[in-house]
Amino acid sequence: MFSYAIRRFLGAIPTLFIIITLGFFMMRIAPGGPFDSNRRLPPEIEHNIKAAYDLDKPVYQQYFIYLGKLSHLDFGPSFKNKDFTVSQLIADGLPVSAELGLSAIALALLLGLTLGTIAALNQNRITDHSVMTVAMFGITIPNFVTAPILTLIFGVYGVSLFGLDLSLPVGGWNNGAVRNMILPVIVLALPQIAVVSRLIRGSMVEVLRSNYVRTARAKGLPNRLVVFRHALRAAVLPLVSYLGPAIAAILTGSLVVETIFGIPGIGRYFTNGALNRDYTLVLGVVIYYAAFIIVLNLLADLLYAVLDPRVRYDQ
């Protein structure tokens, strides 16, 4: 398995290279540049700025310059956020987005696994139908609707239950205080909870019908053991493949949540960068994203092999 991991890593290098190349040229194909604005700059100033960022050179030269810098992990300066390098922006924003994202995934796993299993165990009964209907809400309602609604309920109106004040801050990061994280994490987690519980229900229903679960029941094992020891491990397999890309996406930040809750994450920088042709910033985030996907997919495959001993990678 170790040699498999090494082989996968080596195989990822050309993939990453292609992604960088693709990303670089796709950005340049888009018309407009980072310093086009409504205000016309005097030509010489514009020229100077472009020269400072090597934008006056032909695209292919820019590409090689970029690759050269990248080879010693220099992502270059941000075009739009002056005085910042891309590495600084990512170092500032990524941990924030990652903290939110990982909390949301953890919450989604906890709730999604529980709800999905409960639904599968009560297949086609009322519990199942209600869990699945609620899950459908999670999938069909966009987060820029849930975010303001939750803001309204917990922030603006303020809710108190049994005399407990349940109002929550609706914006700001406050250096990652737990109270500030609750609403954004919930908003991020809702659709993931829905997807996870639907996935788990589907695979769990299948596994519960399998011959080996029948054998486990025939052995007289209590239900708890049948579900946790025999069924659950096989039922989470589809989830493992889903989680790789899902975590990568959520780690690199959500524009909507970060905008609405005013959180200094990487998602906002990224989307604004893409809109404003901040080439270096966008490419930097794309490279991080792709690297996350590659690593997480590898981890998912290895985890798969741990969960299912039939999967072997040395053959």
Partner: protein, 312 residues
């Protein structure tokens, strides 16, 4: 057995008359689908929404872009909140927006665009995805490896990156917006079709067709495609809501439809902005969109159960 020519002919005629019409798997699936109450109700509801979007604006007393400065952000008459600024009156059954335009007819116009986006983008993804997946899966070998590697690479680029680049390239062209989204959504379709093709290729009936002398193209056309259609239809019904959601996300970024045209995404975005003072401008578009997406999902689930009955 002794039989005269005439009696043989008679028997032939009799036999022709009695040929039993078999129940194809499609008929079975349709019957199962029609027994699924949630799916049937969803189809009816979706049909009503689509028909209203098509025809109601033709005779509705308000135009979608008619501005009424006397009724800015007015609640419908039946709105339960007491503290609203004004009541819209008349046939403004969903109230008016911040320019005094009738929200009901705007939602119907938004439905036209959102549904059209969903359908068009899904068709694009269907076309690219099925072609790509079937070729990759059936031909296999190195070509398959190469084609799937390419899909993996595209998967490793963030969705927003694609859409924004494509949007910018196509200068917010209304029609190309569909194509752009479809061009991103085909990846999963291609994977599904490829997987199905690969498993079909192992089936004995494909081998039987080869033994019967059917060529590669004939096998793809007569055996692979009809058997892949089922899972593809299911995925199509689940792609449409995904695309509608993506469209609404683009509208949130301000990259969607331009005024005075509108889509559900635009309406929801506008509604969210003034939710505290005029909550109905969020509630109605969001509810209609959620209902529509619910319908698509129920139909998709129903189709999946109907086409693959062991899966319930």
């Amino acid at each position: 057995m002794i039989a005269t020519g005439a009696s043989i002919q008679n028997a032939e005629v009799m036999m022709r008359a009695q040929v039993v019409q078999g129940r194809s798997l499609w008929v079975d699936a349709r019957n199962r689908l029609l027994r699924n109450r949630a799916a049937v109700a969803s189809m009816v509801l979706l049909g009503i929404i689509a028909l209203m979007a098509l025809f109601v604006p033709l005779f509705w007393p308000y135009a979608y872009n008619a501005v009424d400065y006397d009724h800015i952000s007015c609640a419908p008459d039946w709105w339960p909140e007491e503290s609203v600024m004004c009541r819209a009156g008349g046939l403004h059954i969903f109230g008016t927006d911040d320019l005094g335009r009738d929200l009901f007819v705007r939602i119907l116009y938004g439905a036209r665009i959102s549904l059209a986006v969903g359908l068009a983008a899904t068709l694009v993804s269907l076309f690219i995805g099925v072609t790509y997946g079937a070729i990759s899966g059936y031909i296999g070998g190195r070509l398959d490896e190469f084609m799937m590697r390419f899909v993996d690479i595209l998967y490793s680029l963030p969705f927003i990156f694609f859409v924004i680049i494509l949007m910018v390239v196509f200068q917010q062209n209304f029609f190309l917006l569909f194509v752009a989204i479809g061009a991103v959504e085909w990846l999963t379709m291609a994977r599904i079709v490829r997987g199905q093709t690969l498993s079909l290729k192992q089936k004995e009936f494909i081998e039987a067709a080869r033994a019967a002398g059917v060529g590669t193209f004939g096998i793809i056309r007569k055996h692979i495609v009809p058997n892949v259609v089922g899972p593809v239809i299911v995925y199509v019904t689940l792609t449409i809501p995904t695309v509608i959601l993506s469209e609404s996300f683009l509208s949130f970024l301000g990259l969607g439809i331009r005024e005075p045209l509108t889509s559900w995404g635009v309406l929801i975005k506008d509604g969210a902005d003034q939710m505290e003072s005029a909550s109905w401008t969020l509630v109605f578009p969001a509810a209609i969109m959620a209902i529509t997406l619910f319908c698509f999902n129920f139909i998709g689930d129903g189709l999946r159960d109907a086409l693959d009955p062991k899966d319930r």
